[in-house]
Symmetry: D2
Subunit: 147 residues, 4 copies
């Protein structure tokens, strides 16, 4: 339990035409879809899938989301979404996100999401040890490098 | 079983900003969301809800969809989606759709969807009599007018 | 410039099937679409449309969004989204939102969005007097009641 | 002008959680987003981008879409979308699509879309020679292999 600085896991996404709006850039709700893709990749980088979590009867619904849109993101651009665990409590986890793009300086978008771990009865449940271990250790693909 | 000309049921929808794309009109996939809204209203007009169908263990997944985009639809425009049952078989139903807009002539969009009635085991199942009756009779809100 | 307590404007939305996810309730990104619908209705209640703003070369992109998901929202449920201006600065506006549902107590979802007023050159621009006036006065449909 | 059998270009997509619905599989409208991703990749495989087309003042709005959903597609599954040009006329192009998944037999989804080439005035315009050439030749990544 506490503040952690888990490793960043990176996802690459190309912006879809249907994700733009008439202002000519990506519509603000679509970033939350991208954050979800990044969380899925974070799980995979740590040796499990979100699907396997649900198969065990565990769910991670979002209870809070925050996004700061600093730079525009447009159709067909390839962006990188970095995600890491920033904090966790007995039954909840905070992920944080940074969106960048090759050829641009700085972070285009920042965000975080808080999740509660729920069981099949939709009750909050303690984060199991194995999942807690994943949050405080380095992702597998990094450890493969000897990190 | 056969070709029917069920009554049209109308839904009103206002186009969302997030439904537009950078070309400045509604993105083509979003029409299928609107068709779904129309189907939900069709159920309600016939005295039941799609939710009640699922609670009985019956599902109506789409197995085929077709859309003909004839006129542009833009942000904040109020459109009318008309839906009716056009045909049905032992375990499948075809809905057809027309999208119009006040102040414009003709139909802006046409479409149809074919659905198979499935049970909890994801097997096709015969359309029950009560549902079949709904497809061949007039919607309740019309009959309330003495139609 | 300052903290305001603008009047609440209400929108009614029925949750679409395509807005749910396999967890069985509305996917977290879709709330941001609903907030946008509410902002459009807020404009209309104040005697203008967001489209008319864009026609004047003014845009209100979102620069920050926050959502607190407290209760589940499910398919076909009719929800009410209340929106009001909470604060504004020279070139930016904060809207806040509350989502409720008939038959349930309390607020199911809270949120806010910060917007910057931009001109055609994508530069921040001062909120014109007429728009500022709208933010501090009561919505038209209320004033029609003599409020 | 005529029926062509252009080469297939393949895209890989992983299904997002937000693309599922409460029935537990991908919502039917989302396939049209995937087809669009495949079209973007088709352009890239032929040495241009759809963005470059729009920069030339040419647009390819969809005027007709058809999808046949034969097998379920679920969260986190990696699917392959194959796209090719099937037919073209003076100012219109038909793409066809097949969705498959590793470890399953056969095509899970089939579809086509018809597009009209439009200029900035939203008038249909003849397909330029260079674009027509792309439709009848093999994609670059194949020709790089000496095909």
């Amino acid at each position: 339990m506490g503040i952690v600085s888990g490793d960043w896991v990176e996802s690459r996404i190309r912006v879809r035409y249907g994700e733009t709006d008439q202002m000519g850039h990506a519509y603000y709700a679509n970033y939350l879809f991208w954050f979800e893709v990044a969380r899925g990749d974070w799980c995979r980088a740590h040796g499990f899938t979100y699907t396997s979590l649900e198969e065990k009867g565990l769910f991670l619904p979002v209870v809070e989301a925050w996004v700061r849109y600093k730079g525009e993101i447009r159709y067909d651009q390839e962006i990188t979404i970095r995600v890491r665990v920033a904090e966790f409590k007995r039954a909840s986890i905070k992920f944080e996100y940074e969106v960048t793009r090759d050829g641009t300086n700085g972070v285009l978008t920042q965000g975080y999401t808080w999740h509660v771990l729920m069981n099949r009865d939709r009750k909050a449940t303690s984060i199991p040890d194995w999942l807690q271990a994943h949050m405080t250790t380095t992702a597998e693909r990094d450890s493969a490098d000897g990190a």
